[in-house]
């Protein structure tokens, strides 16, 4: 039984590594987080007891390990790296002096159709990788890990206002990136 549980868990490892790597942007750190999660899962097999979907249960454990890794990552980041992201909003040139669009954003054609396409998801991932590190970290905590703003602020030791600025910046950058690299085609 225990061996069976172990092999079931192992079969989910590739999924878990990819899940962690999307957030952590570093293969080795992602592997470590997954390893910690799997060890915790094996130690806590009794708590699983078929209560829920195994993948859901493991992902829940992994989220905690990812947040631990984020905490370590953000401690290790020197302050100078952060300052370049703290200045101007980075998209001032999209607006004129009165805050109106220099160039009005066009509608995207049939965006729903893109969702099922592997190439679109690859383009989205490339746009995510192009975000500055701290901006990406906050955006992924919000949209990938599904954390709410107060949780994110608590983990990163930032104010809600700063959090909203980073999320806004991420969305503006992603929308521009997808407009240029996907929807313009």
């Amino acid at each position: 039984m225990a061996a069976d549980f172990r092999s079931q868990i192992e079969s989910l490892r590739p999924y878990l590594v990819r899940y962690a790597a999307l957030q952590l942007r570093d293969a080795a750190t992602a592997e470590d987080a997954v390893q910690e999660a799997l060890l915790a899962a094996l130690a806590g097999e009794a708590n699983f007891a078929g209560r829920s979907n195994l993948r859901t249960w493991l992902t829940g454990i992994l989220k905690h390990k990812i947040v631990d890794a984020i905490r370590r990552q953000s401690r290790e980041r020197p302050a100078s790296d952060l300052e370049s992201e703290n200045g101007a909003e980075g998209f001032d040139d999209l607006f004129d002096r009165r805050g109106h669009w220099e160039e009005t954003p066009d509608a995207w054609e049939q965006p729903e159709g893109a969702l099922g396409q592997k190439q679109f998801l690859a383009a989205l991932e490339a746009c995510l990788r192009a975000l500055p590190e701290r901006t990406a970290r906050v955006f992924m905590m919000r949209e990938h890990l599904g954390m709410d703003t107060p949780e994110i602020c608590k983990e990163l030791g930032i104010t809600p206002t700063h959090c909203w600025v980073l999320l806004h910046r991420a969305r503006m950058a992603l929308r521009l990136c997808l407009s240029d690299n996907w929807f313009a085609k």
Binding site: E112, W164, H168, R171
Partner: protein, 65 residues
């Protein structure tokens, strides 16, 4: 409250992360009623959230394949 497009994008983004105050929602609605660019933007922010959910689901499919 009269919003510029820049302020509108800021509020649209915050609307994805916190409950907006009544006054903010009214100001947004007024602006969106007259501004096509910001309406497009609003749809694109919502699409982004959906796309991020699909990214996680795509992770799923690769596992079972």
């Amino acid at each position: 409250m009269i919003l510029s497009c820049k302020e509108t994008t800021r509020l649209l983004s915050q609307g994805e992360d916190r409950g907006l105050a009544f006054g903010e929602r009214v100001a947004l609605r007024v602006h969106l009623a007259i501004c096509k660019g910001c309406r497009n933007m609003s749809a694109q922010f919502k699409f982004l959230r959906l796309a991020m959910k699909n990214l996680a689901r795509d992770v799923d499919q690769e596992r079972s394949n």
